[in-house]
Each structure stands twice: as C-alpha cells, then as structure tokens.
Symmetry: C2
Subunit: 194 residues, 2 copies
C-alpha cells in the first residue's frame, strides 16, 4: 500500500484513542498558552480531530481542562508521608519540578495550572492541591512552633523553582541538573529545621 493510499484511507474509529489524543493535545496547548489562550479548535486541530467531539466526550472546555490537569498525588509525598523533611522536599522537587513526564506537555499539572492562574477556579484548585495534598503532613514532619509557616516556605521555594524553570525560563535554574539543585535546596530546607 502506498503512502497516498494510506492517507486517503478512512480513519479507524476509536473512541478511547480519540479521547486520549484530545487530552494530550489539550495538555500541550494549556501548558504553553494557558486556559484562556487556548481555543477548542486549536486543540482539535493539533489532534487532527473534529472540535465537536470535545463537547461530546468531555462536556465543556472547562471539563476538558480539569481532566487534563488532574493529578494523583504519589504515595510517599502527600499525607501520611514518612520521610524526613529534607528527603520529603527532595521527593517533591523531583516529582513536581523536575518531572520528566511521559505524557505530552511535559510539565506537572501544578505548573500548567499556574499558567492559567487568572481564573479563580484554577486558583482554588491550586490551593487545595498545594496546601492540602502536598504540604498537608509536611508541617508535622518539621515540628516546632510555626511548623505550618515553615512548611509553606518550603512549598514556596519549590513553586518558585518551578516558576523560574517553566514560566520564566531563567538561564541557570532551567539548565542545571537535578543533583545540583537538590543539594542547594536541601541546605535551605535544613536551615528551617533548626
């Protein structure tokens, strides 16, 4: 079969494949241009799929966004984490900031949401996930008087690193290795433990 034959053949119909193709394209678009900067027609065109199917399979652009940026907090990081503070921070740094994600888009949903922080619902979800899921038990592992505050400061550091890398694209932090970053972050976190 020639290439032209292949291209002119009617496409195979596959609901699941269409859905994930839309999700992948959506993640890429939302990552680069944010929610408001992305149109349903852009997503559909990237995926080579009719835009109408977005509404049939996801209901609305908003619902597609939520499913695209949905993330399950990994075991060992969120609530009921058992590691020491410095090790916990390292795990979060690796998972959120330095994630080499297999899925297209390549960035952690938390950072994708930051690109759409103009929308109140997105900010609300960010707060839930960051303060609730990720930093929940971090304060307990830290201990001391103002543990919650110091936990949030670690969160701020990690988010800031993510912003420097993914939004600002700073010359150093964006290019340096995980190892090198890890050591410096560990020093800063340890300074909060005492």
């Amino acid at each position: 079969m020639t290439y032209d034959d292949f291209m002119s053949e009617p496409k195979r119909r596959d609901k699941a494949a269409t859905r994930t193709a839309l999700l992948d394209a959506a993640r890429r678009r939302f990552t680069e241009h944010g929610f408001d900067g992305t149109g349903v027609r852009d997503i559909a065109a990237d995926a080579g799929i009719d835009a109408t199917l977005i509404f049939r399979y996801f209901g609305s652009k908003q619902a597609l966004f939520e499913e695209a940026v949905h993330v399950a907090v990994p075991e060992g990081i969120g609530r009921r984490a058992r590691a020491e503070p410095a090790a916990l921070a390292e795990a979060m740094l690796r998972e959120v900031v330095f994630a080499e994600r297999a899925e297209p888009g390549g960035e952690h949903p938390l950072l994708v949401m930051l690109r759409s922080a103009g929308r109140p619902e997105v900010r609300a979800r960010l707060r839930e996930q960051v303060c609730g899921d990720y930093l929940a038990d971090f304060a307990e592992r830290l201990g001391g008087d103002d543990a919650e505050l110091r936990a949030e400061l670690v969160g701020a550091l990690l988010i800031g690193i993510g912003v420097m890398r993914s939004v600002i694209d700073s010359p150093e932090l964006s290019r340096v290795s995980f190892e090198q970053t890890r050591e410096l972050v560990a020093a800063m976190v340890t300074a909060l433990e005492g």
Copy 2:
C-alpha cells in the same frame, strides 16, 4: 446643589484624569483576572469611561497592559546594589512581595504579570525584569562558584512566596507578618552563602 443635580451634570473633561482612571481600573482588572480574562469594556466600565478612549490614549489593550504593569526597579535593589545578600533579599521581599502599594490593585507588577503568564510576551518581560533587573548583581554579592545559580534560588524563593500569597492565597504565608517572614527568609538565604 442636590445629589441628582451633581449626577446629571455633564462630567468635566480631563484627559490626564481619564488616562489615570483607565490605568487604575486596568491594574485592578489585570491583577484579578489576568490579561485574557479582562476585556476593554470591563476596564472602561469600572472607570466609568467609554471603552473607545482606551484605544485613543493607549493604542491597544496590549499597550495599556504594558503601561499598567510597568515598574521602575528602585535604587538599592537592582544593579549596583551595595548591601549584603541577606539584606538585599530582605529589601526585595519588602518591595515585591509585601508591597503595600498606594496605587489600586495593590500588587507588584511582577505578580500581576504572573497571572498572565500564558502569554509569551509577558513571560519574556518577566524574564528580563527578574533575571536582568532584579537578580543582576545579586550573584556578585553572593560570590563563590555557582553564584548565579544560588542567586536564582533566592529569586525562586521570593517569587514562590509571592505566588503563595497572591495567587494561591495560602493560609499561613498570606496572613503572617513581614517580620516573621523576613527572619525565616534570612535563614534560608544565609544557608546559601556558606
């Protein structure tokens, strides 16, 4: 003169006042809803001014945005700063993150821009201002091998605190005093100096 008389009187015509009224309203809207989430009609309505004047006085919505988030880096913070690293970080923390800005909107332009980080031009400006203007000489003050990297880490921490307060509205960092934050930040910055 009664209230109704006052209200029915034709408005005084004042180009400068109209311009600043539009700028103030724009800052508020852009702060809360980002660039894409804000329409020129919203801004004009808030200011009680016809939307057409935005284009006469600023040329385009984009130009209005740029003027609204424009900021002059204060002496003693950016290039040619003379203070020690910890003191420099404190100055930036006060100026960028804890700024009680007189102008409406109440937030530093860098944080406003973060709400519109979906737009590439905004990201480019962010990089210029953060890495260029603000962190430029910070590395020199730090000294040592990977000074640039450690300077960017301080920038990441400050930006992260700003995000936690202004975007995520985290329970602790958003409500705690400048003094309390300052001490913990100083500890983290000092950990990078060694």
